[in-house]
């Protein structure tokens, strides 16, 4: 099985420290709206958080019309901004909806297994395996 970022949603407190750490590690900015995983709060009922991470399913690479989605040394898919034509097919087809865009950047981005999020997670939601 491919290595990927696992999440035990039942432990998530919704704090978003993972999102901030991600944006700092990957883009060098403090902005959780530029993160590569997602937290979906479900309030007032049932009152839980759902964490969405890349499962390394490879759908993005399959649907990319120009082969811009590659694999890095950690085994994670990444979008090469030099080759991406911003057609957004990967964003649309991702089953977990964890390929993200932001107006500041021309091309979408996804998790590359850097692990910065794991370091700051208090309840221990995340791990790479």
């Amino acid at each position: 099985m491919a290595v990927y970022l696992h999440a035990d949603s039942s432990k998530c407190s919704g704090c978003k420290a993972c999102l901030v750490a991600c944006s700092l590690a990957k883009f060098g900015v403090n902005n959780p709206k530029k993160a590569r995983l997602a937290i979906i709060p479900k309030f007032p009922s049932p009152g839980v958080f759902e964490v969405k991470t890349c499962t390394n399913c490879g759908t993005c690479a399959e649907v990319c019309p120009v082969g811009a989605v590659k694999v890095n040394e950690k085994g994670a898919y990444y979008i090469d901004p030099n080759e991406c034509i911003a057609c957004m097919a990967c964003v649309k087809e991702c089953p977990e909806q964890v390929i993200f865009t932001h107006p500041d950047y021309p091309t979408p981005f996804e998790c590359d297994l850097c692990g910065a999020c794991i370091e700051v997670c208090g309840p221990g939601v995340l791990w790479i395996e």
Partner: protein
């Protein structure tokens, strides 16, 4: 300006005009942000003698330089205003995600001015800011409105709302955010209601400018690891503040029956573990917090979802009214959240009313046939509804315990448990001089959050009335509210004991400005003295007497618990104040001296506003 959203947003509800101005660097330098911005704008912009419910009062909503960054607990927002409850300074802090979102939208403070002719809500989406009609939301509960606005605008919007209590100008109405967090005390919700501002909705997608992002990533991550490594981490996350309940009863600090006793006969039904087993479903955290203290719960008995109860609600709605079942307290908590009432003041006022009824000062004629008695959840639920809607006896109770006791007379003032008109929170202190001094000198009235000194009383000896206790109170009054200026939570330091030394380097990495811990404490002392001067300016004859505690603490001994029979001594109370004023550089009447104001760089501000 690194570390800041960059703009102050001004919203004039009378004219509908919205304007933006750059966040003034000299104010950021001297006051940091959060509560510091709050008192700065309150003192310099709200004219002396303003009616708290009128158009001249302002509601100043501020984040701080740590808000929204990679710092443990970077999720606190301050609401400052002139208090309709006390007539003095009000500042209430709320966790959740609002403060971070405001920074991502590019703002540091929202200054709400005037009064709207019709109910509105404030819509902020990055640069797009407008006032929208809220007539279809008016009258609805806070949780209901938050749910509705998230449906309409999107889950990513952060929402703060008032409930019917704020609309009906209940003097201790609160503002609710994130399905169960409150800016609770002093009537900040009342001011919002008087301004006909039903809700605030914020969404932002911008970067917070950071001086040294790699350093922030490194230092912030270190701080998160320090939190996770704390020996107290598992207990804190399992129970949150509810873990205090058992200890408080065991040492006799738990207020029972309007602060007559220090413990319940049987408190097992209120314990954190009972709560965990019966109702808790999720450990819910504020922005950036690794140690989520929010205990999001579901009561099967009442079929409600509520975040809590916290220790304070358990102490005032539970102990003080003698309720012994955590699920009953949880339902009362939900009522307070949905109706928009500060649960601390509410519990305190209801306990006072029950005691008055017991003594025959209030009768069934006053209560519309309702029999007020201790330990009856239905009484508490009924009174909360009446207070929120100002129905029957609720209209009187909505004014707060100070007004109520003055109105009722018959020596009820002796057991109206407040200081400066703010109802006392959850620590019984007939025999806890440091904690009592904390309540007496807290800058919003009898609230514990500035100086939680009860543990010091227990550490060195309850009976001691010594200078070191005063030193401890002053130290806590500087370091704890500093976090309110930084826009972050202090509980990672308070409860997990992470090193305070972790914060200055993080702040420097964010702002680019090198500040030592001493520099930061000086800013905190500046803010403390300016909030004191606000009382001096607004209250005719303000001075020493306004720091006095309720007579119960020095006239009526504790009736039950480990401190049974104990009493404060009037001479000791005077001695505590003498020591406190001297150490603070204030005169014998408790007024900051010109020399102290000059030392703190406040002469210009105070001179101009006097």
């Amino acid at each position: 300006m690194n570390g800041y959203g960059g703009k102050i947003l001004r919203v004039n509800l009378t004219t509908g005009q919205i304007s933006k101005e750059p966040t003034p660097p000299h104010v950021a330098e001297k006051f940091l942000g959060g509560r510091g911005f709050g008192i700065y704008f309150l003192y310099t912009e709200v004219p002396k003698g303003a009616n708290p419910l009128g158009p001249e009062n302002k509601l100043i909503i501020s984040s701080g330089p740590l808000s929204g960054t990679l710092t443990p607990g970077a999720g606190k927002m301050d609401f400052t205003t002139k208090s309709p409850l006390t007539g003095g300074y009000a500042s209430a802090s709320v966790g959740g995600h609002l403060t971070a979102e405001l920074k991502y939208a590019g703002y540091d403070s929202i200054i709400v001015e005037g009064v709207s002719p019709k109910p509105v809500y404030l819509y902020i989406n990055n640069d797009e800011v407008e006032l929208r009609d809220a007539s279809d939301l008016w009258g609805k509960g806070s949780i209901t409105v938050e749910t509705e606005l998230k449906k309409r605008l999107g889950e990513e919007f952060q929402i703060a709302t008032i409930g019917p209590a704020g609309e009906n100008l209940v003097k201790y109405a609160c503002i609710t955010h994130d399905f169960g967090r409150q800016a609770g005390r002093g009537g900040v919700g009342t001011v919002m209601g008087a301004k006909k501002l039903k809700a605030i909705a914020v969404h932002g997608t911008k970067d917070i400018p950071i001086a040294d992002p790699p350093a922030l990533l490194r230092l912030g991550t270190e701080a998160y690891k320090a939190c996770k490594a704390s020996e107290a981490f598992e207990a804190w996350v399992r129970y949150g503040t509810a873990g205090v309940t058992v200890w408080s009863n065991e040492v006799g600090a738990f207020p029972v029956r309007n602060f007559q006793a220090g413990a319940l006969e049987d408190y097992s039904g209120l314990s954190g573990e009972t709560m965990r087993q019966r109702i808790v479903i999720t450990d819910k955290g504020c922005f950036g917090c690794p140690s989520p203290c929010g205990k999001y719960s579901h009561s099967k008995k009442y079929n409600i979802y509520v975040e809590g109860p916290e220790y304070e609600t358990t102490a005032l709605i539970g102990g003080d009214c003698a309720l012994v079942d955590i699920e009953d307290v949880a339902y009362a908590n939900w009522l307070c959240d949905e109706l928009g009432i500060d649960s601390i003041s509410a519990g305190n006022v209801i306990a006072f009313a029950i005691e008055c009824f017991e003594k025959g000062i209030l009768t069934k004629e006053d209560t519309g046939g309702l029999e007020l008695r201790w330990g009856d959840p239905e009484v508490v639920f009924a009174l909360l509804e009446k207070i929120a809607r100002r129905e029957g006896i609720g209209d009187l109770l909505a004014e707060g315990v100070k007004y109520l006791s003055k109105k009722l007379g018959e020596n009820t003032e002796a057991f109206a448990i407040h200081v400066k008109g703010m109802e006392m929170s959850g620590y019984e202190c007939h025999n806890a001089p440091a904690m009592l001094l904390s309540y007496m000198t807290c800058d919003v009235g009898a609230h514990h959050n500035r100086s939680w000194a009860i543990t010091y009383d227990l550490q060195v000896g309850r009976d001691l009335v010594t200078p070191d206790k005063v030193d401890r109170v002053i130290y806590l009054q500087h370091v704890r509210p500093l976090f309110d200026c930084l826009g972050a939570c202090r509980l990672q330091w308070v409860e997990l004991s992470i090193d305070l030394g972790l914060y200055p380097p993080i702040l420097k990495a964010i702002t680019g400005i090198d500040r030592s811990w001493e520099d930061l404490m000086k800013i905190s002392e500046r803010v403390w003295n300016l909030t004191r001067m606000y009382w001096v300016r607004e209250i005719e004859g303000f001075g020493r007497e306004w720091d006095y505690p309720p007579a119960r603490f020095y006239k009526e001994p504790v009736t039950y618990g480990p401190t049974k029979g104990k009493l404060m001594n009037w001479e000791d109370i005077q001695r505590l104040l003498d020591m406190y004023y001297e150490k603070r550089g204030w005169d014998k009447n408790g007024i900051p001296t010109p020399g102290k104001l000059e030392e703190l760089g406040l002469t210009e501000i105070v001179g101009a506003g006097a």
